[in-house]
């Protein structure tokens, strides 16, 4: 987590062929949600519908974060794309399981597997 980002989120975008990998760090929640919202809008506008969220450095996620992911999931689904999650910390992964979103969003241990998955 970076200095001054305690309650916020940092987003780094990486493009691998037609896939956008978003390396998130910090907390994916209401505070800082605008940054994620704008980033996702841009990604969708550019026509990327294959998204991988690298959550390795995310310590906390709330329903706001899940909501953003479901928003892009719906767009991706209608455009032959996907939304995948990579390397979530156990407590973060549990949030996906409690809300059953892991049944829609694939959760992978690392980026390689997420990129290669069918």
């Amino acid at each position: 987590m970076r200095e001054g980002q305690t309650f916020g989120i940092t987003i780094e975008r990486e493009i691998v062929d037609d896939v956008v990998v978003l390396h998130l760090s910090g907390q994916v929640r209401e505070m800082g949600a605008d940054a994620l919202r704008e980033e996702l809008d841009q990604v969708l506008e550019k026509g990327y519908f294959k998204l991988i969220f690298d959550l390795g450095d995310v310590s906390f996620i709330s329903s706001t974060g899940l909501g953003q992911m479901m928003r892009v999931f719906r767009a991706a689904k209608g455009n032959d794309g996907y939304v995948r999650v990579v390397n979530p910390q156990p407590l973060v992964e549990e949030v996906f399981r409690f809300t059953k979103l892991h049944t829609l969003i694939g959760i992978y241990p690392n980026l390689e597997e997420a990129l290669q998955a069918e």
């Binding site: 209401e30 505070m31 709330s62 329903s63 953003q68 479901m70 719906r74 949030v95 409690f98 809300t99």
Partner: protein, 451 residues
């Protein structure tokens, strides 16, 4: 009819041996009941054999039949006495050790023994449960079910603090054991004697009331009576009590003292009465209300509870309706939990629930109007953290919120907050209006008995 003594001289109401003693009593009574039923069946058989037109029988035969009936009636009368005896023996002695809580209890015997019972159970040094219930029917069957019911509550409460879960367990136990067609209505409250929160489940029992100054608040929840249905859909509600609040619990025999078209009308009159005489001591209130009206067929019981204790100190943080302001509440709560060793998992859960509750309050309650406030109150001790979040909105009915994990809702971009709160916190309740949520999370070492 004369008042029954408040209590039978039982000295072991709260000792571990009591459950065994109760079990023995239930067994013995079940046997007696079976014998009684056989007699009743035999009697029924004789009546069936008796011809429809008595004119065809001689006087002698009729006399014999009448004599048999009389003997059966005497046996039934004896059963009635056994039932009465049982009811007396099961009357709990109230524990003086429950500091700061005053109890007042009175019962009135009707012409027939009913299945009224009440109980107060110490769950731990901080929690007490109280039950009032009324079994359908009269006589020995009702008394046996009463005994079974009281045992079921004691057993379920032995390692559970959640009112709804206790009621569910009791329902299951009663489903397995009740005689066909018998059921009970019951009210169960679990009181946190430090934070003065009350969690309660009302299984179709007549509404208990909280009397606070001139305010009288009924304690109702959804849910069917106990011992009839596989899933009676019990609902649990919670309420913040205050020092000097009184709770008035009773069985429906007491409503016979009020003239009204139906139970609701009688309850309304009782509520009016409580409002009017709210200044009387709890003992006087209970005594006068149980004594109302002429003799009745039904038994009646009333249990009054007065809170003498002060609520443990809570801290309150008020923030404008802006998400970033939530950090003030987090900074006040989370480090304390860390300090007390609650552990990463519990703290994650509390943080998530706090965010979900506060964001709901800001967005849905206060409609993002930053002139409106969100009030976050909390109390933390070695065993649990309580957080309540209130907004200035009109409130909502948590029962109206659909399950976000339903297949057709999984794709939604919102609507997961409340489900997450319920998943991560151990107790969740709302005020009547629905603009205040109260959540409790137990420390990992205390959680075993709570979940």
């Amino acid at each position: 009819m004369a008042q029954e003594p408040l209590e039978a001289p039982r000295d072991d109401a709260f000792l571990p041996g009591e459950i065994e003693a109760l079990k023995r009593q239930v067994d013995e009574l079940s046997n007696q009941l079976r014998r009684a039923e056989k007699r009743i069946q035999a009697l029924g058989g004789q009546l069936d054999e008796a011809p429809a037109a008595p004119t065809s029988k001689s006087d002698l035969e009729l006399k014999v039949l009448a004599g048999q009936l009389e003997r059966q009636a005497m046996l039934l009368e004896r059963d009635e006495q056994v039932a009465r005896e049982l009811q007396k023996n099961l009357t709990p002695v109230l524990d003086e050790e429950l500091e700061g809580v005053k109890f007042a209890i009175e019962t009135r015997s009707g012409t027939r023994v009913g299945g009224d019972f009440y109980d107060v159970i110490n769950l731990s040094d901080k929690f007490a449960a109280f039950v009032i219930a009324d079994v359908s029917g009269h006589g020995l069957p009702a008394a046996v079910i009463m005994a079974t019911g009281r045992l079921a509550f004691r057993t379920a409460a032995a390692n559970e603090l959640n009112a709804r879960k206790i009621m569910d367990q009791v329902n299951k136990a009663m489903l397995r054991s009740t005689l066909a067609g018998h059921y009970l209505t019951a009210f169960l409250g679990v009181l946190d004697t430090e934070l003065l929160t009350l969690q309660y489940v009302n299984a179709s029992h007549c509404s208990p009331f909280v009397v606070r100054d001139s305010e009288v608040i009924p304690l109702d929840t959804k849910g069917l009576f106990v011992g009839m249905f596989e899933d009676p859909h019990y609902e649990q509600k919670g309420m913040q009590l205050e020092q000097h609040d009184r709770l008035f619990l009773y069985t429906d025999g007491l409503l016979q003292g009020f003239k009204g078209e139906d139970r609701l009308a009688c309850q309304a009159k009782l509520a009016e009465c409580l409002r009017e005489y709210g200044l009387l001591s709890i003992e006087e209130l209970v005594h006068n209300l149980v004594g109302l009206g002429p003799d009745h067929e039904d038994d009646a019981a009333a249990l009054g509870i007065e809170l003498l204790l002060e609520k443990a100190q809570r801290k309150t943080i008020t923030i404008p309706s802006l998400p970033r302001e939530l950090t003030h509440a987090e900074d006040a709560i989370l480090p304390v939990l860390e300090n007390k060793g609650y552990g990463e998992r519990a703290i994650f859960g509390v943080k998530l629930a706090l965010e979900e509750a506060a964001i709901n309050a800001i967005k849905h309650g206060n409609q993002l109007d930053d002139t409106k406030k969100v009030t976050i109150a909390f109390a933390i001790d070695e065993d649990r953290v309580l957080i309540s979040v209130a907004d200035e909105g009109e409130g909502f009915n948590p029962g109206d919120v659909p399950d976000p994990t339903d297949e057709d809702r999984l794709l939604a971009a919102s609507g997961r907050g409340l489900a997450l709160i319920r998943a991560y916190m151990d107790e969740v309740s709302f005020n009547e209006v629905g603009n205040e949520i109260t959540m409790i999370k137990y420390a990992p070492w205390a959680a075993a008995t709570h979940s």
